[in-house]
């Protein structure tokens, strides 16, 4: 661990991401992005797939210190490939001194990361592209009104899962899909734990090759909660074990935080309107037990 990142106090106190972007008040994705930018520094090119963050940089306003490239929903890794190739060519021709090199960062929501753009991502990992893939995961297509995506968790109500028991499928494990392809690095993070996030970004930026940063992004309108509670809900996602904080480095998966004691998942679920139908008017014991047993099974396998 970088000794300069031991305590919260060691986190950067000047913030690089500019204020005034058009994201919602209390956006969990923006929270993670702003913490990540402080660690990555200004020498970046963000390659943004269509998502809520489409609106981050709306001409002529940008919150970034470096460049921003906008791509179609499935194409952020391809855009990052183009940026990386261009930088490499400049470098080979001696027109880009090493200290002026930039990091290509694909920035997408979970819709692009787990659904529409997954094959482009698989291709980029396969080619060993030197880039960071940052997915802020608000567990649905938030920009268009929170329709279900493959990242939507079991039981959540979305614009397209309006049945009595909510979303019928379990959340896709993007981290596992990446790890199966043996990338240079992969990590899950959350803005509500800035120190854990900072250590992982610090580690990722020192490596080369495909690197995943997967940030859970509590979403006040999409998940239906008061924006003030975003950080608390993020902490509960970790404390209940629903969002495991982990990293894949040197060929193995390490959990950077093992919640102990682990809170019941209900503590997390009942704070969000998207799960209200599991508690009102009557308790949906079957779905609640199913969610809890999935989390229990995960941690049993981790701690075995």
């Amino acid at each position: 661990m970088n000794p300069a990142l031991r305590r919260m106090k060691d986190l950067p106190s000047t913030h690089l991401l500019g204020a005034g972007s058009a994201m919602c008040a209390g956006c969990g994705g923006l929270l993670a992005l702003h913490e990540i930018c402080d660690l990555l520094g200004a020498r970046t090119v963000f390659v943004n797939a269509a998502s809520c963050m489409t609106l981050l940089a709306s001409y002529p306003f940008t919150p970034f210190r470096g460049s921003w490239l906008y791509t179609a929903m499935a194409s952020a890794p391809a855009g990052a490939q183009g940026v990386r190739d261009a930088l490499d060519i400049l470098s080979e021709r001696g027109r880009l001194p090493p200290e002026q090199d930039l990091t290509a960062v694909a920035l997408t929501g979970d819709g692009a990361a787990t659904g529409i753009g997954l094959s482009a991502t698989a291709g980029a990992i396969d080619r060993g592209l030197d880039f960071i893939y940052l997915c802020y995961d608000n567990e649905g297509y938030g920009n268009t009104g929170q329709q279900s995506s493959p990242a939507t968790p079991l039981g959540a109500r979305t614009a397209t899962s309006t049945g009595a028991h909510g979303h019928p499928a379990s959340k896709m494990d993007l981290f596992a899909i990446w790890v199966a392809q043996r990338p240079a690095y992969a990590a899950t993070v959350i803005g509500a734990d800035p120190l854990d996030l900072a250590r992982k970004i610090d580690r990722a930026r020192a490596l080369k090759g495909p690197r995943l940063i997967h940030a859970l992004a509590p979403c006040p309108p999409g998940w239906s909660f008061d924006p003030a509670e975003g950080v608390e809900i993020g902490r509960l996602a970790v404390k209940t074990g629903i969002w495991p904080l982990k990293e894949y480095v040197d060929g193995r998966v390490v959990h950077t935080h093992v919640p102990h004691p682990r809170l019941p998942v209900e503590e997390y679920l009942k704070r969000q309107g998207r799960f209200r139908h599991l508690f009102e008017p009557g308790r949906d014991t079957r779905v609640l037990a199913q969610i809890q047993s999935q989390v229990d099974a995960y941690w049993e396998q981790v701690c075995a």
Partner: protein
């Protein structure tokens, strides 16, 4: 035809309010249009919704530029030029405003010659989330052609997917507003449908050629987004009590999603009110609870009172 424009912020239920009002008119036997208008911005940003109701088929389309009624959920929007709240308001228009103060004061302050009806502000929460429904209830009464059962049925229809609790609280708020403006029932009059013969072509405005730097600015500067004053989105304002502040600004400033808390040299935090959108995360994460949430309306009133 009734032409009604609702103004508020994303998250205050403006779109829902216009749907309720549209359905209530429909239930009362009218032909109806309702449509929200919002740009690329989000919860907290200015938006409007447009309702037309008529006894004959409606052939007008698009935004309402000559409103018979403007219902304003959040009077702080009057300070946001882009919200264009008073567009087309004339002596024949009614302004329904949710907030404090009396109608005469608002008429004088806004230099309006038409009718102003003030809907007393409800509790902070109801105002924040149900402002659209409250204004729909009040507008229904001002028109005087929608009965209580028709309003209740419209709410039940529009909120069916949100469940019985949301329907009940919304109905209570809308009916409270419906009753509160009872003395003004019928003040809203129908205006004549627009006739093509009365259409006045807009006057031409010649735009001079500008240099490319001005007309199509390239972004060569970093973080230009600070030019966008997202502080105008705020309905609640965080306020630091420096006597209780622990000087642990790395907590609130790191957890502020909008980079709107600066760390001073003495490690105390400073909130950038030009950009703070009012999410109140800082209030909930402050270890010594030294930040409190203040309604923006009250904070601005205090500033006005303190100004020389």
């Amino acid at each position: 035809m009734y032409r009604i424009r609702l103004h508020g912020r994303g998250g205050q239920g403006i779109k829902t309010g216009s749907r309720i009002l549209g359905s209530a008119f429909f239930g009362a036997g009218f032909e109806v249009q309702d449509a929200p208008v919002y740009g690329a911005e989000r919860r907290g940003a200015a938006m409007s919704a447009h309702v037309r109701a008529a006894r004959t088929p409606i052939r007008e389309r698009g935004v309402i530029t000559r409103p018979d009624l403007v219902a304003l959920v959040d009077e702080t929007l009057l300070q946001v030029p882009a919200a264009n709240v008073l567009l087309g308001v004339d002596a024949a228009s009614v302004l329904l405003l949710q907030g404090n103060g009396d109608a005469e004061t608002w008429r004088a302050r806004l230099a309006l010659s038409g009718t102003v009806v003030v809907l007393p502000a409800a509790g902070e929460r109801a105002e924040a989330e149900l402002g659209g429904a409250r204004c729909a209830g009040a507008a229904a009464r001002l028109a005087g052609v929608i009965s209580r059962p028709q309003l209740i049925a419209a709410i039940a229809q529009e909120l069916a997917s949100l469940g019985p609790v949301a329907t009940a609280t919304t109905t209570a708020q809308a009916l409270a507003a419906y009753d509160a403006v009872a003395p003004h029932a019928g003040v809203l009059r129908e205006s004549r449908p627009a006739a093509a013969t009365a259409f006045a072509a807009p006057e031409w405005i010649d735009l001079p050629l500008e240099s490319a730097r001005v007309a199509a600015p390239a972004i060569f500067a970093a973080a230009t987004s600070v030019e966008v004053r997202t502080g105008l989105w705020r309905t609640m304002r965080p306020e630091i009590d420096y006597a209780r502040c622990n000087r642990c600004a790395w907590i609130c400033s790191t957890l502020c999603p909008d980079s709107a808390i600066r760390v001073r040299a003495d490690r105390s935090p400073e909130i950038d009110l030009e950009h703070c959108k009012g999410c109140m995360i800082c209030v909930s994460v402050c270890p010594p609870q030294a930040i409190r949430a203040l309604p923006e309306r009250a904070a601005r009133a205090r500033e006005l009172a303190a100004a020389p």
